[in-house]
Symmetry: C3
Subunit: 468 residues, 3 copies
């Protein structure tokens, strides 16, 4: 059987070496040691997490410990944390034989990514020029988790087709690019993007698609027997979906302004998500014989409302505005799964395992433009003079911006994301005939057979090929 | 085989049309558009989620953003949100072949229900007569989730026997009735019912049973091969159970008074739940050969303590009082699963898939009476003068109510729930022979066979019938 | 087959009686009634959860309800609660046929343990000598959950080998010993141990190992067919792992000082955990052919960073210090799974199902010493005069302690834990040939066969034995 397997593999291309016994430990050790050194040089506690807080409090007339930023943001931070590790992780367990890889590599990417993100974002946003230090607090942790999200979205497009070493490289470059792009959009263009429609979702989606395009596998059909779900793997994926769905209001509101800012953002996101569930169900049911629902749609497109509200959720888009956004992107995202993903694969050589194009790239881009429109439409009558200033941060050098100009910059920011298409080196990715298979990188328990044996399948493929 | 299947079906009754390809999308679209329009007309942000909060703060001498209601309630809101979607959703995955339906239709009902609830509850409780608007904040979101809970409980009784269109109808009527009943009990009778023993659980349970009675299926035994669990489906259900169990203190305390109110409610609920675990285990073990435990009991009756504390948790019932409540309802609920559910099915034609009668209806009703007794027993010595006033809201027109009178009204409120028995139109529900089967409404992956093939089973049934 | 089974069993030793139909209900009822009585005598609400809070607030010039301890600690409490029930519970579902037992008995132990913990910890730490009452609030609930954690860790070592009655006994003694040990370490020696490296993990680990040693089963290989995972049981276990991992920052910071204390603890724990993921992956990959990862390592050793930061997380260990701690214990813990567990089983007769020695006992002990070193190295220059006093609680009779002395006491405290080795009575544990099998204590659904039938296996064992 091994023989036959080999024959099949060599028939379609050179057999890939999937041994990562040297590469993976080396990368983990070296990079983690680098983190220790860089953290030693650069990273310290900020004034709210340092023991000097008691003096800081007195000096700034802060009446109570409860006004420490920790109490404003920690519950949201934990919700975001769950989204990153359980949400994204379990959403990627839907494949029948790549569930370990989905949740396990997600874990690995995020655990490395958040450390690197603290450094990269620190260098760009909060390096103190006097001390040469970056100080971190709970908001930094949230931002680091956000930054990982970009790479995890990209991983979604590559799921099952890359080696663990490659996933770490994806995270390294992803976090780096993220920090640059975020600096351009949020600092230079002074856009508002609390939930990261542009900065996180649009970026992550296109980053993943770009890599997927570079790594195009013409013979991926050789792994077709692994490329699907079984009954219980789809249920595991629903755990991921629901945690993403439920905690998305925390995701979008985690770093918005204290008070009404966080409050309003949570409400808008909650409503947009509810609305996209109904339109997703509607389109999914229309698309199948007998009106049956497709788990892929329910697992993914229901979340599009959260993605698309990432920019505008902080603004006074009004509850019905949020419902409209959810309504539209639910439809668009489901159509994406029905028509765009097959089209991309067939004509543009884009193999997008999780369909991040439909869930992140497109809704994220739309979210950017929705934010631009909402910003441009802002008036003092609706926001109040102070409210307008607070919401759009018209302070310092941006004091004299008008909502109209802000809208223009928001739109410009959205466009920046479409730049990021790139190539980079790759190692030890699996052959086309054992993609989507945990067997390659994980010790598996002996188990009931879930997939048809490789022998028969490959024989079958060979015969089919010979007939052609 | 299809032929044989048809024969079996036509033998026992006219074959049901389970095609929802027109009905489901139509309902989703039309209702969601209605939501958009109604939200546009009625719903706005309240003063704590509006950009004018900064002015409101100044005018009301609120010293810090942390006093925005968001920070009092948002962590509890998220816990409640998890209970609604993961708690109820996964609790209903226990059936071997209806797990998609359990978690998926739960998702659909709740996503629609919460929008409709914001409107219904708004019209009844917070419509501003001057502006004609309903203003919403985080407390409204919690109440909307609560309101959905009533319909989800009802869905538990119907699990596997209704079509997705019917579930949406159940939610539409359920939310409407809920809002009316809540208005009567909380506003007119001025009852206290923070965790909703009466308003949510008792109502939801009897509402579900009423529908189940209307929809009685004499030949449900034809779906018997699907009516049970497999090893891993029971584990998925335990996810639901544990999230409900852990977050129930947040459920009961989510909308109680700031400060000691939320604090005390959480403690009481925590204790009642712990206590009901032990008595559930005791009864479950006594009831089986060899003292084996039954997953159905562990998944459900352990939660009865939370249901039964819904009304009284806010009162000074004392920690030992909470333990006693949990002790008793754990026993009662487990006995319900052992004896009452089979009795109801056999003699009253009530088919209650999840046993909501034992987990919600009865413990909820008991919770109402426990609340009445605790209220009637309240004294100024225990509560303090101010504490008594705060806890029972003896203000405005209710200033002169005594605890005794309050107890009477609480008891009256509990009785109100027993009214709600009703009929309503139904479409596209599955035939008796394919209940509890995801095949009907979901695209299923090809998979290892979990259930005996329908062919053999139906053949067997036909022969059995012919022999009779 | 039953006959053959019996023969095999009697061949290797007297057949155990696994009937718990009398013992389990009796213990549950009697102990729960005892709880009710003892709570009635001793436990009341504290001033922050009592209706007199409104008066207390006024007397103590507390400006807002938000300063009620509930709002400082409740979100962390809920995270800890999830760790106890879902984290520990699902981590123990990895066995192919003992998942009900893992999550179910964990539920039972914790539900009883937390009640008993409120009493035991109350008697030792907060009994009011005047009133003879223990008053409880949200911090008591967290401490009760912590106290349960000790017994749940011990249960990890015993998983699959004890009866439910025994698990309750383990909890009864575990909680009692925990409270004594905690009193010695935290009160008498005045150690700081917020996240319980010493008090919880080191104690729990050695407590479990001690019991496992007492209960040594020479013929445990008879249950070998159940002693392993299947594909989906490992995924269920990953749910447990991720919840423990994500919420560990809340675990360690749940009862640290308001303000910077909670903030800093969360940051340090977050970083240590991230770091131990990478080194765990590195060692796991190095240890296997082809660099494949082992789920056992990923499920467990990634958590070692949280355990080892339990004591020092509150101190100014600095972000890079946290990374170093995680780096080292990730390696140590994974090596433990590779080499120490097999060694302990072979030479010391210690059967440690979940490997708590590697995840809790050793990292906990290391955490104690890391705390001692960090404390000894504390200076006023780094902490500030006030900060030093607050962090180490140098108040009252301990006013004149220096960091050096404190370090010595911390080290002494760690050593205290190594004392606890003990014996106690046991009932109704399963025979050696049906360990790790839910069949013994749970009603199981009819299901696809996951394990080879006992008949063949035992036949095979008998033949093998006879040949010897």
């Amino acid at each position: 059987m091994g023989n036959c397997c080999d024959r099949a593999a060599s028939f379609f291309g050179p057999q890939k070496n999937t041994n990562v016994r040297v590469g993976l430990p080396a990368v983990c050790f070296v990079w983690q040691i680098a983190m220790v050194v860089l953290f030693g040089v650069f990273i310290r506690y900020d004034e709210e997490s340092d023991t000097h807080w008691v003096e800081f409090r007195r000096e700034n007339n802060i009446t109570s410990d409860i006004e420490n930023d920790f109490y404003f943001r920690y519950p949201s931070f934990q919700d975001v944390h769950v989204m990153i590790f359980v949400g994204f992780g379990f959403l990627m367990t839907f494949l029948k034989r790549y569930s370990y890889g989905g949740v396990g590599f997600n874990f690995l990417i995020a655990a490395f990514g958040l450390q690197w993100a603290l450094l990269m974002q620190g260098w760009f946003h909060s390096l103190n020029p006097e001390t040469g230090k970056i100080t971190i607090g709970v908001e930094s942790l949230i931002n680091a988790d956000f930054c990982c999200a970009g790479s995890l979205i990209a991983f979604g497009a590559l799921l099952g087709k890359v080696s663990p070493v490659q996933t770490l490289v994806v995270a390294l470059f992803g976090v780096t690019l993220f920090a640059v792009e975020e600096y351009i959009i949020l600092d230079l263009l002074h856009c508002r993007d609390a939930g990261g429609s542009m900065v996180i979702h649009c970026f992550g989606g296109y980053y993943g698609l770009a890599i997927s395009w570079v790594l195009y596998r013409p013979n991926l059909h050789l792994s077709k027997r692994f490329h699907g779900a079984v009954y219980h793997s789809d249920l595991f994926a629903m755990i991921g979906t629901l945690y993403l769905w439920m905690y998305w209001p925390s995701f979008n509101s985690a770093i918005t302004d204290h008070g009404d800012g966080q409050h309003r953002t949570a409400i808008n996101t909650y409503l947009a998500l509810a609305s996209s569930v109904l339109t997703t169900v509607a389109i999914s049911s229309m698309s199948k014989k007998g009106g049956k629902l497709d788990m892929v749609h329910i697992q993914n497109a229901t979340l599009a409302g959260g993605v698309a509200m990432g920019t505008a959720a902080e603004f006074m888009i009004q509850p019905y505005g949020a419902l409209i956004v959810g309504f539209c992107v639910g439809i668009i995202s489901t159509f994406g799964y029905l028509f765009v993903t097959p089209f991309l694969e067939k004509y543009l050589k884009l193999q997008d395992t999780c369909g991040v194009h439909n869930l992140h790239a497109v809704p994220g881009m739309l979210g950017g433009f929705i934010g631009a429109i909402t910003a441009a439409a802002a008036t003092e009558a609706v926001y109040g003079a102070e409210g307008l200033r607070n919401t759009f941060d018209f302070e310092g050098e941006f004091e004299n911006r008008t909502p109209g100009t802000q809208g223009g910059f928001q739109a410009a920011g959205t466009c920046v994301n479409i730049w990021f298409i790139l190539r980079f080196p790759i190692w030890a990715d699996p052959g086309d005939d054992n993609c989507f298979d945990d067997e390659v990188y994980w010790e598996l328990p002996e188990d009931e057979e879930i997939v048809p044996p490789v022998l028969e399948y490959n024989n079958h493929m060979i015969h089919k090929h010979q007939e052609m």
